[in-house]
């Protein structure tokens, strides 16, 4: 039988030192033996490295930031669809998920599929809701409290022991040993990310992560645990290794069974010396280290496409332990003519 060919649009081509997942996702897709792909890159900025990787990305279009509104994004996608006849879109960045989840039906009307969590799944896993989330799904989470005023800092000693973590609504996390330090971090974070600021119990242990794919009916299609080996000054993994950890897998399957999670996800966990696992964050999308899972035997991007198109999905229960990823940087060579064409036409 002839292999089907899909036109797949992928965002997150910013393969920088704080990488988006686009390029590793594409590598996974290209390795599929069961379908062929034409990759349409969707880029926000004109220097996203993926745009210039012509062996991976067949054609790139610039799209407006989600901040310019759902309508503007959809109008642009409609145009791209008229040129490329898209079958599927994989949004890979946190900031665009809200827009794409909200636009599911409109995309379907254009005959473009997505495979994303529902708005409810997306909203309930926000950092500020972690306590409720842990309680609802029976997962240990560090005690968290949203605070909105410096006055609340004095009262923290009733519920927390120092040190504790001071986190921003979207990004940033600092360890504080004294109320004075909390105060400093509170000011810094609230100025940058607004209120509330989240105070979180500091759990001592090792940070471990799981990449997973849920089919939307409660089944876990892929799940690979990994430990970061080296973390850059931006807090991003520069190297990681797959590990054998049945407890993590079970926790993951359990969560996906209960939430009926649909799409890719990453669980960030802390494993304590007592072998307890605390969930600290859920990223509602495929993480940038996805290619490690592919190399270890679970091609998550491929499985995601298969799920979306009702193809047979392999039963991924195995993966190779001890597979490693090591990020590196590489200077691509571009030309001002490419840059010019992208700048003027928004296409390349």
């Amino acid at each position: 039988m002839e292999k089907p060919k899909f036109n797949i649009a992928v965002t997150g081509l910013n393969n920088t030192d704080n990488p988006g997942p686009g390029i590793p996702v594409i590598r996974g897709l290209k390795e599929s033996k069961d379908f062929d792909v034409r990759i349409i890159g969707l880029a926000y900025e004109n220097l996203e490295p993926g745009i210039y990787m012509r062996d991976l990305v067949d054609k790139t279009y610039q799209i407006p930031y989600p901040s310019s509104g759902k309508e503007a994004v959809l109008e642009r996608i409609e145009y791209i669809n008229s040129k490329e006849n898209l079958d599927f879109i994989i949004p890979n960045l946190d900031a665009e998920l809200y827009t794409f989840i909200q636009s599911k039906e409109k995309l379907e009307k254009m005959d473009i599929r997505t495979f994303l969590p529902t708005m409810q799944q997306f909203e309930e896993r926000h950092k500020a809701n972690l306590n409720e989330y842990g309680e609802k799904y029976g997962i240990k989470v560090p005690l968290s409290k949203s605070i909105t005023s410096r006055r609340d800092i004095d009262e923290l000693k009733e519920d927390f022991e120092y040190p504790l973590l001071v986190k921003g609504k979207f990004y940033d996390a600092y360890l504080a040993y004294t109320p004075e330090q909390v105060n400093t971090h509170f000011n810094k974070i609230s100025a940058k990310w607004g209120l509330p600021v989240i105070i979180q119990e500091f759990i001592r242990g090792t940070e471990v992560n799981v990449i997973a794919l849920g089919d939307g009916h409660g089944n876990t299609v892929c799940a690979v645990p990994m430990r970061k080996q080296y973390i850059t000054d931006k807090g991003k993994a520069w190297g990681g290794i797959t590990i054998k950890d049945e407890k993590m897998l079970e926790l993951t399957r359990n969560l996906i069974r209960q939430t009926k999670w649909r799409g890719g996800m990453e669980l960030e966990l802390i494993k304590t010396n007592q072998n307890e696992y605390f969930l600290i964050e859920i990223n509602p999308r495929i993480p940038a280290w996805v290619y490690l899972a592919v190399a270890a035997g679970q091609n998550l991007p491929e499985a995601l496409i298969k799920l979306a198109f009702g193809m047979d999905v392999p039963n991924y229960s195995e993966y190779e332990v001890g597979k490693m990823f090591i990020r590196y940087s590489f200077d691509l060579i571009g030309d001002i003519a490419q840059f010019g064409s992208l700048s003027v036409t928004g296409e390349m």
Binding site: Y44, E45, N46, L47, Q62, I63, P64, Y65, P66, S67, S68, G69, K70, E71, A72, E75, R76, Y79, A95, Y98, T99, Q102, T148, G194, L195, P196, F339, L342, S343, V344, T345, G346
Partner: protein
């Protein structure tokens, strides 16, 4: 030979790596007509700038909101929030749709009476109510919402002197999980202050407790906050019933619904994140119906929605005064609408729309108002098309607060027009005149 259409020559710098919308053919929206009237003609006839309000839009929005709540809860009443827009014509439209009046000063109270609202359909809110205001409200049987204990004692004295029973509701502030939590108005629920005050009202001979009121904040996009607030007020009502066997007449959930305007600093535009009336209604009424309130004695649900009912119906129309180039090469466009007539520019990224486009080209532009002061900025940075001096612009969704918080600074306030359902234009507030304005002043003899 016919000549080609002209557009200004422009040179846009491409910022490497930075978001760059050029060449992406994002369309600039235009707005050439309001309720079938061309913006150009309106400006020609009534001068620039000018406010325009659409009556059909008000009625449509009101009916949508009313339907969202009344199909989910048996007893719903809106009260028009005067401070949001107290043009008499606007108030009368809301009243004709069935809305009561919610006022926060003696001045607004007088307006409501003038607009034909009877005292028993006036909700009297706010921290400042004078002796005369309160006496009138007691006599009229208005619903007086207490803001402080001092006010409680003051009202009690006055009612006793008049030998009348005042209709009283308590303004309550509570934690509904939103930020910031407004705690400056009314009595706090969580620390017991509200319950304490309610007990005093219940025991007061000259007061009749008719309602519980909360108003959590403004531009609230989290519908869940209304569910929390509604169930907290419902619990309070049930508690009152248990202790005093007293059923309150209404729960007033205030206002605070968001609109499609985008707040400064918001990542996603308001049009994408603003919940619908149905979303608010679903959360709020589900909480009430799910509470322990007895189904046969459900209190009236009062709503004081202001912004969400009027914002969309208002437009500011103006013209380009000048274009200039700032030192850093950025373009600045000066328009004749400033923060004096667009107070909401301080917290919204208002859309500024041309009426027509000669080309798709845009430039990063700062839009200034006409005032001689540095804070007069309508948009800090906007991709804006190339307009020439005299070209018309429209700022949509400005119906809330701008026609009440406007400033008379260095120039007089412009006229306000209403387009009615037959698309007829009425001047509902004429342009202020120098004579009228000056007549208020008095120069002492020695300076004459």
């Amino acid at each position: 030979m016919k000549k080609l259409d002209y557009e200004r020559p422009i040179l846009n710098k491409v910022n490497a790596g930075m978001p760059d919308k050029f060449g992406m053919k994002t369309k600039t929206a235009t707005l050439s007509h309001i309720e079938e009237h061309s913006v150009h003609d309106i400006l020609k006839e009534f001068g620039s700038p000018v406010y325009v309000i659409s009556e059909p839009c008000i009625r449509k929005t009101y009916r949508t909101a009313y339907k969202a709540f009344s199909t989910r809860y048996p007893r719903v009443q809106f009260a028009w929030s005067y401070k949001t827009n107290y043009m008499n014509a606007v108030c009368k439209i809301f009243h004709s749709e069935g809305a009561w009046a919610e006022v926060v000063s003696g001045f607004e109270y007088s307006k409501a009476i003038e607009n034909g609202i009877s005292g028993d359909q006036i909700i009297f809110n706010g921290p400042e109510k004078s002796k005369e205001d309160l006496e009138r409200a007691i006599t009229d049987g208005a619903m007086i919402h207490l803001d402080s204990l001092d006010e409680f004692y003051f009202l009690g004295e006055l009612a006793q002197k008049l030998d009348k029973k005042a209709n009283v509701a308590l303004r309550i502030n509570l934690d509904a999980g939103i930020y910031p939590q407004w705690d400056r108005f009314g009595f706090n629920l969580e620390n017991g202050e509200a319950w304490h005050a309610l007990n005093r009202i219940m025991l007061h001979e000259h007061m009749e407790l008719v309602g519980l009121h909360t108003h959590m904040g403004t531009y609230i996009t989290a519908v869940s906050a209304y569910a929390v607030a509604a169930s907290k007020l419902a619990d309070m009502a049930v508690r009152l019933f248990r202790k005093f066997n007293h059923s309150i007449k209404y729960l007033d959930l205030g206002g605070g619904f968001a609109t499609k305007n985008t707040l400064k600093g918001a990542y996603l535009p308001g049009a994408d994140t603003c919940p619908s009336f149905d979303d608010y209604a679903e959360a709020l009424t589900s909480a009430l119906l799910g509470s322990e309130l007895p189904p046969d004695k459900l209190p009236l649900l009062l709503l004081e929605t202001g912004r969400a009912l009027i914002d969309k119906a208002g437009y500011a129309l103006g013209s380009v005064l000048a274009n200039k180039r700032l030192v850093d090469g950025r373009r600045a466009t000066v328009i004749d609408i400033g923060v004096n007539m667009l107070f909401t520019a301080f917290w919204y990224e208002h859309e500024v729309l041309p009426t027509k486009l000669n080309s798709e080209q845009t430039e990063n532009t700062t839009i200034y108002g006409p005032l001689c002061m540095n804070i007069d900025i309508i948009r800090e940075a906007i991709q804006f098309p190339l307009l020439q001096k005299g070209d018309a612009i429209v700022i949509p969704r400005i119906g809330a607060y701008n026609m009440t918080q406007w400033m008379q600074f260095i120039k007089l306030r412009p006229p306000v027009l209403l387009i009615d359902e037959d698309r007829k234009i009425h001047v509902i507030r004429k342009k202020e005149s120098f004579q009228e304005f000056n007549a208020h002043e008095n120069v002492p003899k020695h300076l004459k």
